[in-house]
């Protein structure tokens, strides 16, 4: 889903750059007020994991592939603010060193993967708020990680539809359905991988999901 340079017109690049900058400033401020220093090693290792996982494309159907984005995964381990910043680091290194995702399209890529992925934390929190639904955690993670890829693809389809090359090819009526079609399928891979990873990490190291103060509130609710 990394948009290369040349796929977006300058106005969209600027708009998405501004929106993403807003989210990054918000995440940065919230992170500084929220996280203890002990988060740093977990943040480093989980970011490195997401970078490696994004290199491994899995085939879908009809000669198309996808890879884990990892936004929902990071938001479960790190909370929303550090997840947005962590994913932004991954995307930045990919754009700077590996030409994966453009330089001018960076803002759009941050929005589609880092911001949407990080915000999935709040939807999972909402879905599991009712203590009677304590068994809903992994079901919610499955659904929300799938949704994060589909919404990212929707945003990407909208963004590219404004560029001259794509609008000549049919514009929004073509780009949005096509992006959604592939990413509804790719999202299933994302959902299966994220749910497996989080549930196995939770089994091996039960404190990993409750290490954050912001998560602890919900966890203690579900126990009582």
């Amino acid at each position: 889903m990394h948009i290369p340079d040349g796929f977006l017109n300058p106005a969209i690049c600027a708009l998405m750059g501004a929106i993403s900058t807003g989210f990054l400033v918000w995440s940065w401020r919230k992170a500084r007020a929220t996280y203890p220093r002990s988060l740093a090693p977990l943040l480093a290792v989980s970011s490195a994991f997401v970078f490696a996982a994004q290199m491994i494309n899995f085939p879908i159907v009809y000669g198309t592939s996808g890879h884990l984005v990892g936004g929902t995964f990071l938001s479960m381990l790190l909370g929303p603010y550090a997840a947005i910043l962590s994913m932004t680091i991954v995307l930045m290194m990919q754009a700077l060193f590996f030409a994966d995702g453009g330089i001018f399209t960076f803002g759009a890529n941050v929005f589609n993967m880092a911001v949407i992925g990080g915000l999935s934390f709040f939807l999972i929190k909402l879905l599991t708020r009712n203590p009677k639904r304590s068994g809903w955690l992994f079901r919610s993670i499955f659904f929300v990680s799938w949704l994060s890829v589909v919404l990212g693809a929707l945003a990407c389809g909208l963004q590219i539809s404004f560029s001259p090359v794509f609008s000549e090819a049919g514009g929004i009526a073509v780009t949005v359905p096509a992006m959604l079609f592939w990413h509804i399928l790719i999202g299933l891979g994302e959902a299966a991988t994220t749910t497996t990873l989080v549930s196995q990490l939770h089994r091996l190291q039960p404190t990993i999901l409750s290490g954050l103060t912001i998560l602890r509130g919900r966890q203690s609710e579900s126990i009582h």
Binding site: P4, A40, A48, N57, F58, M93, G157
Partner: protein, 91 residues
């Protein structure tokens, strides 16, 4: 700290085993562009290792693995610095 080092080693092993199995098919966005007959331009900025390969290494497996390992440690380092900067020092 030991657990984190184990995880890093595990990530590198997974990378070594899984990169040759990774699919070469276009991803969702590339497929959409391809279907619509849109060519991806040569990137404005090529980076040091375009498409996760080192131009100086001929063997594609080693080239991708070296690029991937470099990337893992790069992200690890930058994210750790970020982790120090965005967190409160423990008293």
């Amino acid at each position: 700290m030991k657990a984190y080092i184990k995880v890093i080693i595990l990530i590198l092993i997974c990378l070594a085993v899984l990169t040759p199995l990774a699919s070469d098919f276009p991803d969702g966005l590339e497929k959409v562009a391809e279907t619509l007959g849109i060519e991806e331009h040569d990137p404005t900025w090529k980076g040091l290792m375009p498409d996760y390969t080192l131009p100086t290494i001929d063997n594609p497996y080693i080239s991708t693995f070296v690029a991937g390992t470099f990337g893992v440690f790069l992200v690890l380092g930058v994210a750790f610095i970020l982790g120090i900067v965005i967190t409160k020092p423990s008293r």
